[in-house]
Subunit: 388 residues, 2 copies
């Protein structure tokens, strides 16, 4: 019998985190949940801890610490508070895989800590690679750590590369649903509302990534993520709009053959694969049926309307801290949009302005990224103050 | 530097054979062409021999032997005549892979000889597995021989299984173009002509397989072939009509994930892969572009009109010599159709009648197959005589 795999989930109360717990619950013979963490949703974190009895929980928001501590005092569960605790819990020796499912830039430091503790990473926090792909991939190589993608597109590419790592990738196609505003003109995009932007046609996701999908920034971040995960040049990465979200992405090899990974849009599949790789495990996830989808459609992206995608490619060409600037600007802008302080179209304009007004720094260290992230947030907050 | 791979092509003058020679010509550093053979096209065989300078050629039709011998006397090329010579040339020690690209049942004995000589098989002759899959797969296992599929659908499945052989296949989908008569009613099918049947919408192939595509018998034979190649139950094999022939087939694993292999319809790709597996080799084959195919379509097969497909599934359930009967009946019927002695719809009716009037034999040996093949051909010839 196989030993159970020790798992830590950073961000267990979010969309990916809760689905990861469903996967773990379905396979008690395979997984040993060691750690779960949450930013501030103490109620759900407590509920999860009482159900799954992990070794430890972390509540990042210190003001919620006592509540969590009190609720779990009778259980043999260690309770920690504050962001720094994330860097320590990932070091537990029982952990084999750390699923990084926090939102945004906050994932960077704990991911780095997990890599340095020689834990394999199931990476759901794409911002980590977007901001600091250069440093992260070098550290992963240095510590002999594998990074298993959880994003459905990157999981698709990774699945298609099984048994093909010795072969040459000619290019990859990342598929994009196109989001709720596919086919919109710039004029039409100007008047969309927060409610419209939060209605993704195919995927149930958190608010930040749902807005990023609507602005195509999510696809831009994925292009950068793909560059680092699969060691590709910008011109080897193409984006194709596929409104049904059934074909999750495609690899084209140098013999011209293409492999695609397909299925109903369900994040539990890539989550499970990232935890069981190289094995697949029987699941009861609903199956795709061709007869329900008589037509799978594909079209180009209108980059003249959705300018975020081009900004991401620009960052790949410029390198250095430029993607860090783009990511920080976008996080602040999306937050302001969700607070209804700026319009939908302001998001991409602010991203562009941030990239134009802050000079990128070449060969950054982790410290450089932290600094550039702060500078960008300050700058973008000023820009937003001036327009809202 | 890698040693060149010794190749024999049985059926070098046919559609697959000539395309295989194009692949070999494009990679003189990879391949060492040892043997080419032809049934009766001595002119092309001579031309090929003078160009590629193989170690040996076989012309199966004895009446053409002297012509080939005379043409090649000044070259250091061994020339053999007659079908039995096929069984001997595959034994040459320099041969690593035997590409079986003959048409129909004639491929069975030389394939068996190649397996017994411990040569890996690049299998383009699906009838070998259709007729005698049980015996062939057992012998391949016994002699430690790999069978690499060349049929585009089976190559697609095989490519999708790279790196996944330890995982469980839930089912496979073989795609079918639907042929020139997709969507036809039985009434409409009654009046189709030979010229119409020979116009395949997507693939350039030999006459036999083109007719088999039009009658859906080809897909039925492929279902049987897939059963043996991938060790599947009938209910794990599904057929889906995909008129564009871009998605060449799909595997669904037990976690629900599906992998598809895609590309423009071009047999050179699966031929090359069968010769270079597990490596891919850079090619100049035209690339697929999503923007040229805004819609990929999928629909079910109307088995009430195209009854051949159901006959193939019936054979899988019955087992024994039933698929041998179906194949022999179909070969004779297609030949009669090409000679305009019977109508298009007669083909499937004759196949059905043959299966109903000849009792299948369980646990057949190779000799049983040879005998049943002969009996069936005789019976079907009588049936045709009575209606034409």
């Amino acid at each position: 019998m196989q030993a159970k795999k020790g798992i830590a989930i950073l961000g267990s109360t979010g969309s990916i985190g809760t689905q990861a717990l469903e996967v773990i619950e379905a396979h008690p013979d395979l997984f040993d949940l060691q750690v779960i963490t949450a930013k501030q949703n103490s109620t759900l974190l407590i509920e999860q801890a009482l159900k799954f009895k992990p070794n430890a929980v972390v509540i990042v928001d210190d003001s919620e610490y006592q509540k969590v501590k009190d609720a779990l005092w009778s259980e043999e569960i260690h309770v920690y508070g504050g962001a720094d605790a994330l860097n320590q819990v990932v070091e537990f020796k029982e952990i084999e895989v750390v699923l990084t499912a926090m939102v945004g830039y906050a994932g960077l430091e704990p991911t780095m800590s997990a890599i340095r503790a020689k834990k394999n990473i199931a990476l759901a926090n794409k911002e980590t690679l977007v901001v600091a792909g250069d440093v992260i991939t070098k550290e992963a190589q240095k510590y002999g750590v594998n990074i298993y993608p959880v994003d459905s597109e990157h999981s698709a590419i990774f699945q298609c590369l099984a048994g093909e790592f010795h072969n040459t990738i000619e290019k990859i196609y990342l598929t994009a649903s196109g989001g709720p505003f596919r086919g919109y003109s710039m004029a039409k995009l100007r008047s969309v509302t927060k409610e419209q932007a939060l209605k993704h046609p195919n995927w149930e996701m958190g608010q930040k990534i749902t807005i990023d999908s609507a602005t195509m920034m999510n696809k831009g971040l994925e292009v950068i993520e793909a560059k680092w995960l699969f060691n590709l040049k910008p011109e080897q990465i193409d984006v194709i709009v596929h409104p049904q979200s059934i074909v999750h992405s495609i690899v084209q090899f140098d013999d011209g053959s293409m492999k695609a990974q397909m299925g109903l849009p369900d994040m539990k599949l890539p989550i499970q694969y990232s935890l069981t790789y190289p094995n697949r495990v029987a699941s009861s996830f609903p199956r795709f049926n061709f007869l329900d989808y008589p037509s799978l459609n594909f079209e180009g992206v209108d980059q003249s309307v959705f300018t975020n995608l081009q900004l991401a490619y620009d960052c790949l060409h410029v390198g250095g801290t430029s993607a860090c600037i783009l990511n920080a600007a976008n996080e602040v802008a999306v937050d302001a949009f969700l607070k209804e302080r700026i319009s939908f179209i302001d998001i991409q304009n602010i991203n562009q302005e941030a990239l134009q007004s802050i000079d990128p720094i070449a060969n950054p260290t982790l410290e450089t990224y932290l600094e550039v992230d702060l500078i960008t947030r300050k700058k973008v907050t000023e820009i937003i103050g001036s327009i809202s």
